[in-house]
Symmetry: C2
Subunit: 340 residues, 2 copies
């Protein structure tokens, strides 16, 4: 790995997309709802502003939104009561991904410990969260390395939504292994993360990108145009289910039907607190978001819509879960904790 140059994709390094600015006393977030059509950094000066930024997808993706929330905790008034209330508010933002539900309690614990020890609670939070961001960057790179090793020269890789920093590292490392990879992102309605974020990452990495709509994966598979399906997961259960952006499940079904490998970029493994799929709360977002595209009304007036943000794919449809500790069969992902 020493021969791999720095990864040029902005989304490969979370510090480039979110940080705490001590001069502004603000959490500064790259607005992923607009990126890359507009490059806008949003300063959040209060816990509530950070919470709303998470809810409105200014920051999205399991780890990034958890980091934003963690930094956001540092904006609370330095009292135990204020930190507890801020933690509750931040935990309420989004239910499905597990990272948020690890980082906020851990950051709160450090703040309360610092208060008890009459030390700086804000510094304790920032030290912890920045350490987690750094650790997450390393996890992403290691996960991307294992994923790159699964790719073959000439592979056409279908992906859905944005699989984040590990995808950036997978593509970058594969490129430096002299493998030519063709990336096929689904556009991923309603937020178009594939058409915007994934496509932009691949562009920055010099990877060939061919966009499709969310209805096309099965047809391309039937035509022999897809070699692997690779996406991330917002949560992995101990028995090998994954939740990810809605749409993943039906692509996984199509991949299984066509005997095309489906690998999950699993970063730092399963959620130790979630035994199986019934422990995952699927977020229902405002259905009105489906009636619009890029701020423009696309549907007729006077109708309803539904927006389940995630779906769940069972382990028998998954060929392997790629983590920073190697590749696991979905059914045995629990062993992640035994491997170092």
């Amino acid at each position: 790995m020493n021969t791999i140059p720095p990864n040029p994709a902005i989304l490969a390094d979370r510090f480039k997309t979110l940080h705490y600015d001590p001069d502004e006393r603000a959490v500064v977030l790259l607005n992923r709802a607009l990126y890359p059509h507009q490059i806008e950094y949003v300063p959040c000066h209060t816990v509530e502003e950070v919470a709303r930024a998470i809810e409105t997808m200014v920051v999205q993706g399991g780890p990034p939104l958890a980091y934003a929330a963690g930094l956001g905790l540092a904006l609370a008034a330095p009292t135990a009561e204020a930190y507890r209330q801020a933690a509750q508010r931040l935990l309420r933002t989004r239910p499905t991904a597990d990272d948020l539900h690890h980082i906020i309690p851990a950051a709160l614990e450090r703040a309360l410990a610092a208060l008890s020890a009459q030390q700086e609670p804000q510094q304790a939070i920032l030290r912890y969260v920045n350490g987690e961001i750094e650790r997450g960057n390393q996890v992403s790179r290691a996960c991307g390395q294992y994923a790159a090793d699964l790719l073959q020269d000439g592979d056409h890789v279908l992906t859905h939504c944005i699989a984040g920093a590990a995808l950036c590292w997978m593509l970058w490392i594969a490129k430096h292994q002299d493998k030519t990879i063709y990336l096929i992102p689904t556009e991923t309605r309603p937020y178009l993360q594939g058409a915007r974020l994934t496509a932009q990452c691949a562009k920055e990495l010099g990877i060939d990108v061919t966009l499709i709509t969310d209805g096309m994966p099965a047809h391309l598979m039937s035509q022999g145009m897809v070699d692997k399906f690779i996406c991330a997961a917002d949560r992995i259960t101990l028995d090998g289910h994954i939740s990810n952006k809605v749409g993943t499940f039906q692509i996984a079904l199509a991949a299984h039907y066509h005997r095309i490998p489906f690998y999950v970029l699993g970063y730092d493994g399963p959620d130790p607190h979630t035994e199986s799929a019934d422990g995952i709360e699927i977020e229902w977002r405002d259905g009105r978001e489906v009636l619009y595209c890029g701020g423009q009304r696309t549907a007729v007036s006077g109708i309803k819509a539904l927006y389940p943000a995630f779906d769940i794919t069972p382990p028998h449809l998954i060929s392997g879960i790629v983590t920073d500790r190697g590749v696991f069969a979905a059914h045995t992902i629990r062993q992640y904790f035994n491997r170092v």
Copy 2:
């Protein structure tokens, strides 16, 4: 069927969406690329204008575009050579649906016969095509009747793209059978036929509509929120494959996985000239159409895109093909021609 009032959905009656205007000497088409956001009737004064209207989706759907092409043939100069060239131009517009490839040769034959008999070729074309439109309306109603009989009170019916006049009749007749039906259209990117045309039809019929994106069908099925999947087909082969708007295949896979019935509105049955799937040419449209939504750029610059307009679903995934002559198992759809 005598007790059913006239169908109020505009798309239920093809004469309301396209006709030949003798005063204007034009084929007048409801612009389905804009409907219902804008109500625009496009007059086409030449064969070339009709051909381009078909290519740019001003008129879409297997039968409607075939009718538009048939009427368009009447705009050619009244010579055998002009009719033959016009027929070739119109046949080149779109390859996948079979109706076009039935109506144009038959209309040409009638024009040439009229010329030989020193009769009015234009009148011969219009008489034939208007007769086909009238027949198509009756087929749609009969097909819709058989489909309505398959529905149960309270059914949540998922549909994809726009299944046309038969869908309008199915919903209207079911309503007059005192069945409450909940329609769940996929929006159907890139043209959003579901968000526009299907949703509008259901609104006009007073049917409850809940829109979803193209990535959501499998998840809704997994949650017990879909009772039946029903769509149309642009072509049905003699061995029971169907081609329909891209996205149909992966919804059919998801329906099969969840043991949810998938019915195809098959209108007047299979194409007698297409034995199996390898006889269907899948149209590849300009990939750039995937980079936009409603005229607005949605994808980043500098990337490619693919737009296969249709996909193919094999018979083992289909629960039944509903025609104007009743419901057939997909594998036995060939028997359509034996039933009257």
